[in-house]
Symmetry: C2
Subunit: 251 residues, 2 copies
C-alpha cells in the first residue's frame, strides 16, 4: 500500500476537463461524509458543503466563477462554506451566547472548512475522480451565497468541481522542498536564493509561452500584472471583507 | 486498497500522547515534500512549514500553545505559515509589484496553507504517526512568529504536533452527514433539527462529564462559556488581526 499511496500523492494533478459519464450523487455524499472525519476545531465542525448537481444551478453558478468551463463541465460542484450557523443555533437553543461574530471564529471556521475540503479532494482523487479547486469562490462569495441561500454566519471559502477525468491532465511543477521547509527558524531568502528557487519554473516551455503571449519580460510579471494584479486584489478584498462582515463576522 | 483507505479515513483520530521513540527528521521532511503536491492557488505555493525539533525550541514554543503537553511531548512540531515572502521577493527581483498586501491574498495563502497542512496530516497518519492540530496558533501568532523569526508577509495559521502514538487515542464523534451536506441550496435548521443534530453528541458519557465538571446546564454552555467564550475570542481576534496587519496584510 505504502508505495502506491506515495505514488498517488506525488503524482496527483488538478483535473479541469471531465467526461460526460455521470458521477453518482451518492458517491459524492459518501466521500463528503468520510471527509468529515478530518480534524477540526474542538469538534465543532464549523463547515457545510453545498452540492450543486442540476444543470440549471451549475449554469447560474458559472458567472460567479468567471465562467470557467469546469463549473458547467463537472458532474457536481461542491461549495465549501465556513459555517457558524448550526453551532450558533445550538447555543441559542441551549440558552447561551455563541460569541462567534469575530475574526478568530471566522479563521477557525475557514481552517476547518479547508481541512474538510482537502480531505474530500484526496478521497475523490483516490477514487479516480478528477477535482479542481476554484479560487474564484472568495472573489464572488456574495453572488454564490445568494444563489445557494446561505444564511447569516455562513461564508463560501472554496469550491471543488468533480467529475470523471477526460484524458490525462498535465502534472504541475513544484518548488524544491528546500524552499518551503525550514528547520527551527525561518531562513530568509537572498536574491540568489530566489533566482535558484524559481529558475526551474521559469525554464518550463509552458511558462515561456505565457510570458510571450502576455508580452511580458518574465513569469513573475505574468503573475503580478496579468493573473493577480494589485487592482483586482484590492477590489475583491473589499468585496469579500464586506460580505464576511454582512454575514456576521466583525473583522 | 479501497477498503483499507476508507477504513483509515473513517477511523482516523487525533493523537495527543506520543511515545519516546524518535521520529526521523528525514521522514517528516519527506512527508512535507509529498504534501506540497496538494492543490494550491495558481501554483504559487503560498506557504512554508517551520519544523521545530530541538527540545529547547519546543520548550520556548510551548507557552504560545498554552503549554499543551503535546508540544513538548511530540517529536516534531510543524508550524504551517501563510507565506507571501518568497513570492513577493520573486516579483521584486523580477521588477514587478507583488500587490499582495490585502485580504484576498491573505485568504489565498491561508487556504493554500491549510490544504498543505491537511495533506501532511493525512500522509503522516497513513504512515502510522500520530498528529494533533493546535488551534492556539492563531491565538499567539505573534509570539510564535518572533520565536521562528518569521519575516514580513509570513503568518502562522496552524500547527501540527507529530510523534509515534502512545497507546490508542479515542475516536471522536461526528455530526450526521445530513447536518453538513446540502443539496443545491442551504437547508436552514429549525429548533427541532438542531436538537436532533446535537442529541447524540450531548448523550455521550464524556460530554455529560464535561457539563457536570464545569457546573453548566448543557454542553453548548461548556463550549460557549468555558472553551470558546466571547471575551477570549474578542481579545484573540484583535491580537491576530493586529499581527496579520503588522506582517503586511492590510485587512
Amino acid at each position: 500500500m505504502e508505495t502506491s499511496i506515495n505514488e498517488y500523492f506525488s503524482r496527483r494533478r488538478t483535473v479541469r476537463r471531465y467526461s460526460a459519464k455521470p458521477v453518482d450523487a451518492a458517491l459524492v455524499r459518501n466521500l463528503l461524509a468520510l471527509a468529515a472525519h478530518a480534524p477540526n476545531t474542538g469538534n465543532m465542525q464549523l463547515y457545510s458543503a453545498v452540492v450543486t448537481s442540476s444543470p440549471e444551478m451549475k449554469r447560474l453558478l458559472a458567472p460567479a466563477h468567471f465562467n470557467q468551463p469546469q463549473v458547467e463541465g463537472a458532474a457536481h460542484v461542491v461549495t465549501f462554506c465556513a459555517d457558524y450557523r448550526r453551532y450558533s443555533l445550538w447555543c441559542e437553543e441551549s440558552g447561551t451566547d455563541p460569541g462567534c461574530d469575530n475574526f478568530q471564529s471566522f479563521m477557525a471556521a475557514v481552517i476547518d472548512t479547508c481541512l474538510f475540503a482537502q480531505q474530500f479532494n484526496t478521497l475523490a482523487e483516490m477514487d479516480g475522480l478528477g477535482c479542481c479547486y476554484l479560487g474564484t469562490t472568495t472573489y464572488n462569495a456574495e453572488e454564490i451565497g445568494q444563489l445557494l441561500s446561505l444564511p447569516e454566519l455562513v461564508v463560501p471559502v472554496t469550491t471543488i468541481t468533480v467529475g470523471w477525468p477526460d484524458g490525462e491532465a498535465p502534472e504541475s511543477d513544484r518548488l524544491s522542498p528546500d524552499a518551503i521547509i525550514m528547520d527551527e527558524k525561518y531562513q530568509d531568502f537572498s536574491g540568489e536564493d530566489i533566482k535558484a528557487i524559481y529558475s526551474y519554473k521559469e525554464s518550463l516551455a509552458e511558462n515561456h509561452r505565457f510570458v510571450e503571449e502576455n508580452g511580458k519580460k518574465n513569469l513573475a510579471q505574468v503573475y503580478a500584472e496579468v493573473r493577480y494584479p494589485r487592482t483586482s486584489a484590492k477590489i475583491f478584498s473589499e468585496k469579500y471583507l464586506a460580505y464576511v462582515r454582512k454575514q456576521g463576522f466583525a473583522i
